[in-house]
Amino acid sequence: MSFSLYYFLELTAIFIILGWTLYWVYRIGQLNNAPIAVMAVSAYLCGYALLNWGWPLILAFVFGAGCGILFAFIPALALGRAPAFAMVICTIALIFIMQTVFRNLPWFGGSLGMFGIPKVKKLLLITYCFVGFFGILIYRFDHSRLGRAAEMIFVDRDIASTLGINIYLFSVCLQVMTGTMGAVAGMLYVFTIRTIVPTYFGFAFLLSITTFIFVGGYTTMWGVVVFTPLLWGLTVILPESITALRNIIFGILLMVTLLLRSEGVIDKRFLRKINIGSKLVFMKIFSLFQKIKDVRG
C-alpha cells in the first residue's frame, strides 16, 4: 500500500491507544499524561536492548514493556489521590523530567539519539492486534462491575468510598494498566520511526493526543476511535496552499467543538441514541427476513 496510507494507519493506531490511556484514567475523573513518560522509558530500554545487547525482537519488546510497567508504578503510587489538575501538571512535569534524564544518561546517545532500530515485518498487523486487544479490554471493563464502580467514583468520590470502593487502589491499578498501554504504544512508535530522540515523547505529541480525545469525546471510548483518523487524516491531506494555516484550523475546530458539545462529539447521550437506533434498524431487517421466509415457506 502507499507510504502515506501505511504510516497514516500506523500512527492512527498509536494515537488511538494513547487516547484510550487518557480516556481510561479519566473514567475516575483524573487526567493522566504519565503514559507518555512511560512511552519514553519502554522505547529507550527496548531500543537499547536491541542495539547494544543484540537481543531478538520479542525479548526486547517484553523487556521494554516490563521496564515501562515497573516505571509506571512510581507516579501511580504517588498520584493515587491527586485531584485532576494536580495530576495534569505532575505528569507533564514527569514527561519533561524523563526527557532530561534520557538526554543526559551516557548510554542513550544524548540529544543526537539512537539510530538503526531494525524494521519489523507486518508491524501494521501487530499494531492493530494491540489496538483490538486493548479495545476489548476497555470495552469489557466499561461493561463490567469495575466499570460501574469507576462511574460511581467519577460522579462522587465520597459516596463511592462509602460503598467500599478503594479509590486509591482503583486509581493505581488504572494508572499501571494505562502505563502498560503507553509502554506498548511507545515501542510500536519507535518501530515506526526506527530512531529514538528524547524530544519525540514531548509537548507536540501531548498536544495532538489531547486534541483528538477532547474533540472526539472523553467520556466514551469510541470518540477517539472515530476522530483520531478524521483529525489526523485532515492534517495529512490538507492541500498545499493552506498547510500554513494548519494550526489555526485545528485551533478553531477544537474551540467550536468544545463550545457546542462540551463533552466532545461522541458522548454518552450520543451513544445511547445510536444504540437505540441500531437496535431499531436491526429489528426491521430481522422482521424483513421473517417476512421473506414466511412468503417462501
Binding site: A86, C90, I248, L254, L259, S262
Partner: protein, 291 residues
Amino acid sequence: MEVFTAQLINAIALGSIYALLVIGFNLLLVVGGIFPFAYSHIVVLSMYMCWIVLRITGDNLILGILAGILSGTALSLITEPIFRPLAKRGAVLSSFIVAMAISMIITDIMSKRIHGGVVISFPLTLQGKEALITFGIATITAGHIATIAGSIIAGIGFFYLLYRTRQGRAFRAMGQSPFAARLLGIPIVKTSIFAYMIAGFLGGISSILLAMSLGSASAVLGDNLALKVMAVALFAGLGNIGGGLVAAMVLGLAEGMALAYLPGEWYQAISFGMIMVIIMIKPKGLFGAMA
C-alpha cells in the same frame, strides 16, 4: 558575595514576572470560572502589539505603552464571550482545552504573521541601554526595578481591590458561589466582563514590564510562560490569590538559584521535579484553594 546578590536580583526579577502573570491568572480562574491557559499568550501578543506600534510611530514610547495596555485589555475581553457558555456550565476542564486552542492560534499568528516570525526586540529607550546601579557584576536595570515595583504595586492594588472595595467583594462572592452572588443582585455577566477587563488591563501592564525587563519576545515565550504560570498557580493552590503571589516569588527564587548554581542540563528536571514533589505531598497546593 557579589555573585550571590546578582543572582538574587535575577531571581527576584523572574519571581516578579511570574507574580504579575499569576494575579491575572487567578482572577480569571476565581471570577471567570475558567482555566485561563491562554493568559500568558495574550500578554506576549500584547508585547507584539506594543512592538508594532513602536515601529510604526518611530519608537514613540507613550503610544507604544498605550498600545500594549489597550491590546491586552481588548484581547482578554474578546475571549470573554468564548468562555461564557463554558463558565455557565461550570465545564472548567473544557475551558482548559479551549484556552489551549486559543494559545495554539496566538502562537501561530506570532510565529508567522508578525515580523516574519523572527524574534522581536524592543528599542533601547524602553529597555534602558545602561544599567542604573552596578556594583561589581551585579546590576540593577530599569527593567528589573520596573517589574519588581510593578508586581508589588499590582499585588497591593489587587489586594486592596479584592478586600476593600465593593467590586472586589462581588468578585470573591462570584468565585465562591455564583448562585448566592445572583441572589445578592450581583450582575453575573457584567461582573465577569469587568473581571476580564481588569485581568486584561493587568496583562497589558505586565506586557510592558516584560518588554522592559526581557527586552525581546518570541513566539515560544508564550508557551514557556504559560507552563510556568500554571505550575505556580497549582503550586500555591488554584485560585488562591495571596498564595499565588508568594508561590510566584518562591518558584522564581528557586528557579533563579537553580539556573545559577546547578549544572545546566539538569535545571529543567530539577525545577519540574520540585513542582511535582510539592503537588504530590499537598495536592490542593501549598496554601489550599480559593482563600
